[in-house]
Structure formats: structure tokens, C-alpha cells
């Protein structure tokens, strides 16, 4: 019986999706074409098509960005509790950053930072 909630949840989730689509179909005015077909590029005027081949170098930059992203994400909560974790916390963060720096050095030596 307690699993009835799960079933109700599934039904509710499905009706949320379907409901949104149906209401939009009924209410929204239908005017396709024009500026609506242009890809959104943060307000800039797009140049050319979106279906082009991106340089594979972007993918490596994405990975490198992730290194610093993870670092920053963990440093914020650490900074908040910095006073209570004290010296041990500082050493632990130093080890963590060291591991990430090894990742950066690795990428650097492999020539990832040079744009080909």
C-alpha cells in the first residue's frame, strides 16, 4: 500500500510534463519563423550555422576547466569552516590542491595549453 505514493508520484510527474505541453498548445499564439529560428548565443548576432565542427581543443580546455571548477567548489565550504578545522584542514586542502596541480602540470607537459 505504501507504494501507492510511488505510483501517484509517477502519474503526477507525467501529467506535469504533458500538462505543460497541452496548455502551451491551447494558449500560446502560433507564429513560427523569423528571429525564432536563430540559435541563441547570449545576445550576440550569430555568424553562420550552429552545425559546424568545433575544434577538438575545446574539449581539452573543458577538462582543464573542470580541474579548477572542482577546486573552487570544494574551497567555498572549506573557507566557511576554516577557523574550526584549523591547521589539519589547511594541510588537507594543500594535499587536495597538490593533486589538482599534478593534473595541471600533466596537461601542461602534454601540450594541452598550446592552441593548435
Amino acid at each position: 500500500m505504501e507504494y501507492l505514493f510511488v505510483l501517484a508520484m509517477v502519474g503526477l510527474a507525467a501529467s506535469m510534463v504533458a500538462g505543460g505541453l497541452i496548455v502551451a498548445r491551447l494558449v500560446a499564439p502560433h507564429k513560427p519563423g523569423g528571429l525564432k529560428d536563430i540559435p541563441y548565443e547570449c545576445g550576440e548576432q550569430p555568424i553562420g550555422q550552429a552545425w559546424i565542427q568545433f575544434n577538438v581543443g575545446y574539449y581539452l580546455f573543458g577538462l582543464l576547466f573542470l580541474v579548477f571548477d572542482v577546486e573552487a567548489a570544494l574551497m567555498y565550504p572549506w573557507a566557511v569552516v576554516f577557523r574550526s578545522v584549523g591547521l589539519a584542514g589547511l594541510i588537507e586542502m594543500a594535499i587536495f590542491v597538490l593533486v589538482l596541480i599534478i593534473g595541471l602540470v600533466y596537461a601542461w607537459r602534454k601540450g594541452v595549453l598550446e592552441w593548435v
Partner: protein
């Protein structure tokens, strides 16, 4: 802070992994041959530190990481297996092989990835909560997937990696879904607390969680019907990686099964005897029957490894105080025997580039000692007395017999006979078939010859010297007392 020393083995292996990776960046191509000895030295130090660890019990990080006597044995086996795998990989990666496989990539990365997976396995057996357990399982498995696909321009290697990734991800998804349900039922991520909370649980959600987690465990342990990935991955992976996969991933699978079946569902395990017996019977039968018709030696060893997983399962029947030491002892025997055989396969592939069973014909004439060592390894896997494989199987069979599964003992005995037939197929090629006159006889390699010799001696004496089994048995008693 006083118990920090129980984490030293892991810290040493992690540090070695990073040293190898960074050293690779600043070395010249010629001096990179020093990377394998560095990795091997790090593992040796790790083994030495683990061996001298006192006391072998303790916990860290609020009880999320714990060391116990059974974990101690597993860690020793993991490090030994990877040490041998590193030594085996040297010839292939340093270009000493006569037939050089192309696209073997950077050596530092290879050893780094291999050591990372060892760390994952070592954390796996020490994990005490669901998140640590799952993350360490992934740390152990993901590097194996990378290693399977190591040869960049080889289609088979790519296929092996892809199949491993897809099926491994599916298995991980099963496990993590099962874990999430368990967490919901027990409202705790601590393994011991979950075990207490679900001891009397009978709800359908719990049964679903058990089924999902057991399916994932079966995948890691290559239990039939979750074995499909093994043959293709073993065949496609570079030969030293296959050697590592066949022992390390099996040992990690057994470690995971220990965590699941003894720690998490320990109270229910006695009721699941019939299910485990059924799995054991079909796993060993299918593995053995399919191995008969194989021609590729790596694929052949894959099915042999699947059937060995069936023998391991016998240990989960009956009393844990006998089953656990029998399984750990057989794991040790299996790792040593399998590595002895694989060291010969790696060497033969390096020298001739061939991996069909028929290519081994006449090996006893050209390289009598290697052929003898390979035969001893194969006979140990088949369970011929007085080799250690016989002793290991004897313990496992007697457990099944004591648990009342006499039909299963009969199935296992018949399977041992079948396995002897197909292991003898290789021996027949080596000893009875005449050598290929035109082919250049393979020349011995120093590192692999020494490895094979040591492994063969260990295979021969492990079953005769009783101290090791006694130590494992004593370790188990302490461990079981801590489980209560």
C-alpha cells in the same frame, strides 16, 4: 590520529602512482625503462608495510575506513597480483618483445592507471559505508576499462574497452540503484547499521535491492548469467592486461561479494544457500563446457576464469568460519596459478605474436622449463594433487558437502574432470605435438623467466606448507567476531 598507520599501504601506492606519472613527464624516452622498477618498488614497499602492520585492526575517518585481518589478506593479494602484472608488462612496454604491439601509449600512464586500480581495490575491502564502497569500486573498475582499450590502433582492444565500459556501467547502475533503495530502507549509509536495519526486512523494495546488488556483484565476479563481458574483454585486451584482469578483477569481485554477502546481508546468507548453489553449478558448468571448444588461449583462459568463479561460490555455503578461510586461500592459489600460466602466455605472445592454442605445439622441445612451469600452473588450476589448486578445491568442496549440497559436490567433481580435459589440450600441444620446424624458437626473457620460476615454486608448495592456511583461518576467526 594514532591509528593513521592502517592507511599507509594505500598512501604508499597512491604516492607511487603519482611519482610514476610525474616522472614520466620529465624523463627522456630511454630512461623511461626505469618507470616499471619504480612502480614495482612502490608495490614492494606497500607489501612490506602491510606485512609488518601492527595491529591489523583499526578505523579512520569516523569509521568509514577500517582495517581488519581479512582486509589485510585481500590487500596483500591485490598488491602481489599487480606487482606481478607490472613485471609482466615490462617487456611489452619497454620494446623488448620480439613482436612489438603497436600503439602501446605512454608507459608512465599505463603504470599510473594500473596502480590507481589497485588503490581502488584496497579501499573497496576497507570501505564501511555505501558511498565509499561504491566510489572505491569505481576507482577499481574504471582504470581496468582504460587498460582493456589500451592499444589505440587495435580494433579488438577498442571493442574490448567499449564492451567493458557499456556492460560495466550497466552493472554499476544496478549496484547504485540497489544501494539507493537500501539507504532509503535503513536511513543510514553505514554498512553495519544497514545490516542491522534490514535483518528482518521482508518488503518487496528490499527484495528488489537485493536482486539489483547481487546482479552487480555477479557481474564483477563473472558469475553466469552475468559473465558475457569476460570472454571478449579478456581476448581483446593487451595480454599483460588480460593477466591483470583475470586475477585482480576477480579478487576485487570476491572482496565486493564479501562486503555485500557477509557484512550487508550476513543474517540472510544461510537462507540463500539454494540460490548460491544454483549459481555455482551453472557458473562452473557453463565456463567449463564452453572452454572446451576455444582455440584462442586468452579466450580459453577467460572461460577457465569463469568456471573458477563457480568454485569460489561454494565457499558462501555453510559455516562462514570455514567458508571464508577456504575462499581466501583459494583466491591466493588461483591468483598465483593463473599468473604463472599467464606469465608464460605473455612471454609467448611477446616472442611469437601468436595466441592460438595450436601455436604452442612443441614448446617442451624448444623451451622445456617454460613448458614445465606452464603445465604445473594449468594442473594447479585443474586441481591435481599435490599442487596447491587441489588443496584449495578440497577445502571448498568439503564446505559444500558439510552444508548438505551433495549434488553440488558431484557437479563440482565432474566439472574438475572436464576442466582437466581442456587444460590437458594445452599440455598436449606443448608435449606431444611436434614443433613447427620453420618457426624460430622463442628465446627466454629474464624478467618473465624469474617471475615464472618463483610463481611455479609458490604454486607447488602453497598447498603443502600449512602455516599460510592456519594464518588465514586465525585471521578469519578475529574478523567474524568483529562482524557480530
Amino acid at each position: 590520529m594514532t591509528t593513521m598507520n592502517i592507511a599507509y599501504p594505500e598512501i604508499i601506492v597512491i604516492a607511487t602512482a603519482f611519482i610514476v606519472l610525474v616522472a614520466d613527464l620529465f624523463m627522456t624516452e630511454r630512461s623511461r625503462a626505469a618507470l616499471a622498477p619504480i612502480a614495482a618498488l612502490g608495490l614492494l614497499v606497500g607489501i612490506a608495510v602491510t606485512a609488518t602492520l601492527t595491529p591489523v585492526t583499526g578505523e579512520l575517518l569516523g569509521g568509514r575506513f577500517a582495517m581488519d585481518p581479512v582486509a589485510w589478506w585481500f590487500k596483500i593479494v591485490f598488491m602481489l597480483a599487480s606487482l606481478v602484472a607490472v613485471i609482466m608488462s615490462m617487456d611489452t612496454l619497454d620494446g623488448r618483445a620480439r613482436v612489438r604491439p603497436r600503439g602501446m601509449g605512454f608507459r608512465g600512464e599505463y603504470y599510473w592507471i594500473m596502480l590507481s586500480s589497485v588503490v581502488g581495490m584496497m579501499l573497496l575491502i576497507s570501505a564501511r559505508d555505501l558511498v565509499t564502497l561504491f566510489v572505491s569500486l569505481e576507482i577499481a573498475t574504471l582504470p581496468l576499462m582504460v587498460l582493456a582499450a589500451w592499444r589505440r590502433d587495435d580494433a579488438k582492444s577498442g571493442e574490448a574497452g567499449l564492451k567493458y565500459v557499456i556492460l560495466g556501467a550497466l552493472a554499476s547502475a544496478f549496484i547504485v540503484y540497489g544501494f539507493s533503495i537500501l539507504y532509503g530502507l535503513a536511513r543510514s549509509a553505514d554498512l553495519n547499521e544497514i545490516a542491522r536495519a534490514v535483518a528482518t526486512e521482508k518488503s518487496p523494495a528490499f527484495l528488489l535491492a537485493v536482486a539489483l546488488v547481487l546482479a552487480g556483484t555477479g557481474f564483477k565476479l563473472t558469475m553466469v548469467p552475468f559473465h558475457m563481458w569476460a570472454a571478449d574483454v579478456y581476448q581483446g585486451a593487451p595480454t599483460p592486461v588480460t593477466a591483470y584482469l583475470s586475477v585482480a578483477s576477480k579478487a576485487a569481485g570476491l572482496a565486493f561479494a564479501f562486503q555485500i554477502l557477509f557484512r550487508l546481508f550476513g543474517d540472510m546468507l544461510p537462507q540463500w544457500g539454494a540460490l548460491i548453489a544454483l549459481f555455482a553449478a551453472i557458473t562452473m558448468t557453463l565456463g567449463n563446457v564452453v572452454a572446451i571448444v576455444q582455440h584462442n588461449i586468452k579466450r580459453f583462459m577467460a572461460f577457465s576464469a569463469i568456471s573458477q568463479a563457480g568454485y569460489f561460490l561454494l565457499g558462501f555455503l555453510g559455516d562462514a568460519s570455514e567458508g571464508v578461510p577456504a575462499m581466501i586461500f583459494y583466491l591466493l592459489v588461483y591468483v598465483v596459478s593463473n599468473l604463472a600460466v599467464f606469465a608464460c602466455i605473455v612471454w609467448f605472445a611477446n616472442e611469437t605474436g601468436k595466441e592460438q592454442i595450436e601455436d604452442y605445439r612443441g614448446l617442451s622441445l624448444t623451451n622445456p622449463l617454460t613448458a614445465l612451469c606452464m603445465m604445473i600452473g594449468l594442473f594447479s588450476l585443474a586441481g591435481i594433487p599435490p599442487l596447491s589448486g587441489f588443496v584449495g578445491k578440497f577445502f571448498l568442496f568439503s564446505i559444500a558437502s558439510k552444508a548438505g549440497c551433495h549434488w553440488l559436490v558431484a557437479v563440482a567433481a565432474v566439472n574438475s574432470t572436464i576442466s582437466l580435459y581442456y587444460y590437458l589440450r594445452v599440455v598436449r600441444q606443448m608435449y606431444i605435438e611436434p614443433a613447427d620446424k620453420e618457426a624460430q624458437p622463442p628465446s627466454p626473457s629474464t624478467s618473465i623467466s624469474i617471475t615464472v620460476a618463483i610463481l611455479t615454486i609458490v604454486v607447488s608448495i602453497l598447498g603443502i606448507v600449512p602455516t599460510i592456511y592456519q594464518h588465514i583461518h586465525a585471521a578469519t576467526i578475529t574478523w567474524l567476531a568483529s562482524l557480530q
